[in-house]
Symmetry: C2
Subunit: 251 residues, 2 copies
């Protein structure tokens, strides 16, 4: 028995075989096992680079199908029209999602008008949640791409993230607490800000862990759970959580 | 004459030689050209995967030095303490930077108190700038990593980005204009929001293009220009630009 690959297999599968068995060439067969040709290791190196470019660009909300992948790396040559199209699609979709954040803020307009200082903590609260979420997503996406984590691991990793994000949230809450008192000029404001920070970091991180699994489950590339998408979701949830807490605790 | 590599060369250089000449093995020599050993193609495949993991995690503001790179991909095994340390460093640093945004908002507190509706556009304005910046940075980082773009290309790419980002900014400005009128209930508010959107997308994108070059210039990995770092910078500039325009146009 020797290692071979079916002609219909994904290139990602061929890459994994080369890695596992340290191959320099791999026979390609049809479903009956007849030899159709061979893939050599230099093809595989190109394929690895290509997959990585795809993951990397997709992870930044660039539409990889709009442009030949190879072209993305030859930045000086890529036509204006193509790079515009590759970028505008997600930007626009995220802008529409982001308008929801504005709707949430409008719903709490009375609380904001009473405590204008709350606004000055909004960016740091939603940003930190998005940053923590991006970190979490990156680790999951990379592990899924390399095959070291499978779909069935989602519950374990989600539980673990709850602990890590809880600790990170408390650390970030401590970091912002002094500013909450100094800038908020009240313990009540500081309490709202710290509590919102802890919950936001946890929620952002859980979104970051879950989203790549959800995309994988629905046969999409896990890297579709891009940083900008996670940031935007963290903004929507984070704003609602922050202003909700402020409304409940301050009125 | 045959292809070889100096023993002190970076592994990234070895990867480029393998790609360029489709090698299966590469002799390693000392400075006098004496053969010291050979690198084989399966080592190179591992090296490529490792470099990619490093770029990918670094690009999400995870401190890669805190953990053995290989461990990052075995998520189920990575100890709590290590993953916490790898994530908390940048999160905390970005939190401190983000506090500046709050300071800027406080400086414009009077304008905000007069026009509370301005707050509802803040997240979408700073987010879109950060998203566009992340896209721009990704393309530059990837091209620098593959060697298809050099340090000297920065001015050309910056000029080009000005055009692309200008077009993207106008598209996003058009996208938000209706909401500016509907939600702002005034043409003046809509004008502020649209103008801020166009400038923010341009500024965010230019930061995204420049930062990887700046890190490269100072001998740092271009991927240090992480999405969270770009997002945070876009927030600082974006908030100042938006509220500055509002102050000038609305008073």
């Amino acid at each position: 028995h020797f290692v071979s690959i079916d002609v219909n297999a994904d290139q990602e599968e061929a890459i994994k075989l080369f890695e596992k068995y340290n191959l320099v060439a791999l026979p390609v067969t049809d479903s009956q096992g007849h030899l159709l040709g061979i893939v050599t290791v230099d093809d595989i190196i190109d394929a690895i680079r290509e997959e990585q470019t795809e993951d990397f660009t997709r992870f930044s909300a660039i539409k990889t199908k709009a442009v030949d992948l190879d072209l993305f790396t030859r930045l000086r040559e890529i036509p204006f029209r193509k790079v515009f199209r590759a970028r505008v699609t997600w930007l626009f979709f995220l802008l529409i999602m982001d308008l929801m954040v504005g709707g949430i803020i409008q719903g709490f307009q009375e609380t904001i008008a009473k405590y204008v200082v709350l606004v000055s903590f909004l960016p740091v609260l939603i940003d930190t949640a998005g940053n923590a979420g991006s970190q979490a997503a990156t680790l999951v996406i990379r592990a899924l791409a390399l095959g070291t984590v499978k779909l069935k691991d989602w519950a374990f990793l989600l539980g673990r993230e709850l602990l890590v994000a809880g600790a990170l949230g408390i650390a970030m809450g401590a970091g912002i607490s002094i500013m909450g008192i100094v800038r908020g000029k009240s313990i009540a404001i500081a309490q709202v800000v710290v509590l919102a920070m802890i919950i936001n970091v946890i929620v952002g991180s859980l979104i970051g862990v879950l989203l790549p699994f959800i995309f994988t489950r629905f046969k999409k590339d896990p890297a579709t759970a891009s940083t900008p998408l996670i940031t935007t979701l963290a903004d929507i949830f984070g704003t609602a959580i922050y202003l909700g807490i402020a409304y409940l605790m301050l009125g």
